[in-house]
């Protein structure tokens, strides 16, 4: 099997994938770095300007506003997703029919598109025809239907509600797999020792599924830092660009204002932030492999 001939056969099989990654990931990456140092625009032009775009980015209030808005969104939604995901995993941990059904239903929105779910929720939140507004009035939470997308914190609340509905099942499934790999003996031993349910959750289940919780947290946080669809479709950046996320602001610069050079510099800044998170995620996954 290991003759020299086979060595090249192996390389031959691997080469299409390698070539693809080289042409469509690494070559564009180099291009991105180059474009970020030019004044390139979709309308033409493009001179080499060294690090002007980066300097501009650091003093661009709109960019930092969108960046901190994204960070704030991530810091708010991630704990909500993780706590709800954890509680749902606890609730549906047993393999009883009703628990399994609940699991399946909670996971269902994960497979539908974020664009579709955002457009579904825009309708539910609409001031005039929105059924969520109507339900909130009917149960007495609101006095009358309200406009959700004219103030940034309300817009963010609406987006968070819709995204929690859409992705809470993801964290649940990851944590469930962590919980279900806890050995039966450990749990039984604690029961013989007379530990109460919540003691077991705190002292056994929580620490022993810590790795899966951490992984789900990182994956969710990276996803939230790259948020675009939900804000583009639900708030449209309103009011006055206060709900632009980083990716949205990059999209806006590159493909609406055609400032490709500047947009590329912003992309690289975002990429560095994301890659730090992704590196952490991979390190965790690797540690799990060897453990």
């Amino acid at each position: 099997m290991l003759s020299t001939n086979n060595k090249y056969v192996g390389l031959l099989y691997l080469s299409p994938a390698l070539l693809f990654v080289a042409v469509f990931v690494f070559y564009p990456l180099v291009q991105l770095v180059m474009i970020s140092m030019t004044s390139e625009s979709l309308l033409g032009g493009g001179e080499f300007v060294w690090f002007d775009n980066y300097l501009l980015a650091f003093s661009d209030r709109s960019f930092w506003m969108s960046f901190w808005f994204t960070v704030r969104y991530t810091l708010i939604i991630t704990p909500i997703l993780m706590i709800l995901g954890f509680l749902l995993a606890l609730l549906t941990m047993q393999n009883r029919p009703l628990a399994q059904l609940t699991r399946g239903v909670v996971f269902l929105p994960v497979v539908i598109g974020l664009a579709s779910s955002s457009l579904l929720w825009v309708w539910l939140f609409d001031q005039q025809v929105g059924l969520l507004n109507k339900a909130l009035v009917d149960i007495g939470v609101l006095e009358e239907p309200m406009v959700w997308f004219n103030r940034s914190h309300l817009g963010m609340t609406a987006v968070i509600v819709s995204v929690v509905w859409k992705v809470v099942g993801f964290g649940m499934i990851i944590m469930l797999s962590g919980m279900q790999s806890i050995s039966h003996e450990v749990v039984e031993a604690s029961m013989i020792d007379g530990a109460s349910y919540w003691q077991r959750v705190r002292k056994i289940i929580l620490p022993l599924s810590a790795r899966s919780i951490l992984l789900a947290t990182l994956i969710s946080a990276i996803g939230s830092m790259l948020a675009f669809d939900q804000f583009y479709l639900m708030t449209g950046g309103a009011p006055r660009g206060q709900t632009f996320t980083s990716v949205y602001w990059i999209y806006q610069n590159s493909f609406v204002y055609f400032k490709l050079g500047y947009g590329s510099a912003l992309s690289i800044i975002l990429m560095v932030v994301i890659m730090a998170g992704a590196a952490l995620q991979i390190a965790l996954q690797r540690r799990g492999e060897t453990a």
């Binding site: 099989y13 299409p16 609940t102 539908i112 974020l114 509905w165 789900a216 994301i274 992704a278």
Partner: protein, 298 residues
């Protein structure tokens, strides 16, 4: 519907004892009530959207709205069906792009996974890490250079172009999954095939392919769902009215005509866009959940 959760069930190794979640009957009822409430809450948006899509247009636009339709109509579906270039053009675009994404992912990841699992290749680990590393790079940040590249190659507004972007997204996961699938096959099997005089191509086709079929189904499933749902690249690369995919076309419906949104038609569009995902998931849920876990956890 009970079957819906079976993939997670098959992962269960412990903690299935009824006593794990408090023993008493009252607690049991409380848990059941909680489960039912959660099911109702999670299903409500989709059910309400579906019902709204079946309202006659006037009812769907009524202020204040009613939860349930008073009469049923497929008028909203007719409206989306004839929206701009016609819904079927957009569904066809989405399907062709998704099919091409599946083909590209399989064509690249099956041989790559085979090579990584079974051949001694110089710098093998480096190559594998390079492929995985592309997963760390957010594609949202790469859209500008890809757009410029595809413009000069005349790949914007083409199915192949968008499918390439969607393949970039899925390839690391696909290669990883296929490598694991090939590694799980006992070496004795291929040794026997070598003894019988099979060439490496024959081994791949006759011995391995049937055994890695579950892996290939998982790769295809993820490629389909992520391509069908992908939004920002489709928005940027498919700018011509006839080349929109379903999510991009829905954006048009949601902005409305002269600011007046046809809410019934929008919900009909939402339903059309979620049905393939839900259908494929219900059919192949086992592959979906195991794929998700092997991609994320292992």
């Amino acid at each position: 519907m009970t079957d819906l959760a079976s993939p997670a069930t098959s992962l269960a190794t412990g903690a299935t004892d009824a006593r794990v979640v408090g023993g008493s009957r009252a607690v049991g009822y409380l848990v059941a009530a909680l489960c039912l409430a959660i099911i109702a809450l999670m299903m409500a948006p989709l059910v309400l959207s579906f019902l709204a899509s079946l309202k006659p247009p006037a009812e769907a636009a009524a202020v204040p709205p009613q939860y349930l339709p008073r009469s049923l109509s497929i008028e909203n579906y007719r409206t989306v069906a004839s929206y701009q270039a016609g819904l079927w053009t957009y569904v066809a675009n989405s399907l062709v792009v998704a099919a091409l994404t599946i083909i590209f992912c399989l064509a690249l990841s099956v041989p790559a996974g085979y090579a990584l699992a079974r051949y001694a290749i110089p710098f093998k680990e480096v190559f594998f890490l390079l492929i995985l590393a592309s997963m760390m790079i957010p594609y949202q940040a790469m859209l500008t250079p890809l757009y410029l590249m595809f413009s000069s190659l005349k790949l914007t507004n083409t199915h192949v172009g968008l499918a390439i972007v969607h393949t970039i997204l899925q390839l690391p996961f696909s290669v990883y999954l296929m490598r694991n699938s090939f590694e799980a096959i006992p070496r004795e099997l291929e040794e026997a095939a070598v003894m019988d005089g099979c060439t490496s191509m024959q081994i791949l086709r006759r011995v391995f392919l049937p055994l890695v079929l579950p892996g290939m189904i998982t790769v295809s499933l993820f490629a389909f769902i992520s391509s069908w749902n992908e939004f920002i690249a489709a928005l940027i690369f498919m700018s011509r009215e006839t080349s929109f995919t379903v999510p991009v076309m829905l954006t048009g419906v949601s902005t409305g005509i002269f600011g007046v949104v046809d809410w019934g038609a929008l919900q009909a569009g939402v339903i059309v866009s979620v049905i393939p995902c839900i259908g494929v998931y219900l059919l192949l849920q086992r592959y979906y959940v195991t794929g998700l876990l092997s991609g994320a956890v292992k």
